[in-house]
């Protein structure tokens, strides 16, 4: 089903790129949390979350992004978010999270 969440990890020399596709909602958000936290703990690198294939996210998913950012900061690292679709960028603006994250086009 296209709405399923797929998480793909691509290791680069100085950061880890995580490609998200599908939907992040209350059902899939726990999987996202475990995966992103796990990647940070393993790599202790900066993370680029590529949202090109992400079609939907709710407040539970946004909350996980915030948690991941806090965790990255504990390691002295950062999180950048790229290729947000307009409908999702709107949620970042409404919630003020656009000011918390580095958002790339």
């Amino acid at each position: 089903m296209s709405s399923e969440l797929k998480i793909t990890e691509v290791k680069h020399r100085f950061n880890t790129e995580v490609l998200l596709s599908g939907e992040v909602d209350i059902y899939t958000s726990q999987m996202l949390k475990e995966k992103l936290y796990g990647i940070l703990d393993d790599t202790k690198q900066d993370m680029l979350i590529n949202c090109e294939g992400l079609t939907y996210i709710d407040s539970t998913g946004l909350g996980i992004f915030v948690g991941v950012l806090k965790k990255a900061k504990q390691y002295g690292k950062g999180i950048r978010i790229s290729k947000l679709k307009e409908n999702i960028k709107k949620l970042f603006l409404i919630t003020g999270l656009d000011k918390l994250f580095v958002i790339l086009d």
Partner: protein, 130 residues
């Protein structure tokens, strides 16, 4: 010309895996009514936020909550009914702000009623329609 008001009901268990069903239903109805893509998305997101809260809290007095989609000629009204009065508190000022701020920003109205029925209601007008 005034169109007859129609109602579609959806009863869902308090389970996370069925929130997507509410979302898909909302998007189907809103698109059918003539909302633009952005507004369809707004309605989906707002309804999901309500369902998320209900599902996260769960209910002791019932195993389902009921969503009524009321189709007016130029607006959609969504009523979410739950037996458990305690659940209304989830949407008060002490609730999770992220979800509430999203709902309030995306819908035209958002109200919680705890008088005789425990119902949440929200509505959105179709842009450009009178």
């Amino acid at each position: 010309m005034a169109k007859k008001v129609e109602k579609i009901e959806l009863a869902l268990p308090f389970k996370a895996e069925y929130v997507s069903v509410a979302r898909l239903t909302a998007s189907g109805i809103a698109a059918r009514m003539g909302f633009d893509i952005e507004s369809v998305e707004d309605i989906k997101v707002a309804l999901s936020e309500v369902c998320n809260k209900l599902v996260s809290a769960g209910s002791k007095s019932s195993d389902r909550y009921v969503i009524d989609f009321i189709i007016h000629s130029s607006k959609i009204e969504i009523l979410i009914n739950f037996e458990d009065r305690r659940l209304a508190g989830l949407f008060g000022t002490n609730g999770d702000e992220l979800g509430i701020s999203i709902i309030e920003a995306l819908m035209d109205t958002f109200k919680v009623s705890t008088d005789d029925s425990n119902t949440l209601s929200m509505s959105k007008e179709i842009k450009g329609k009178i």
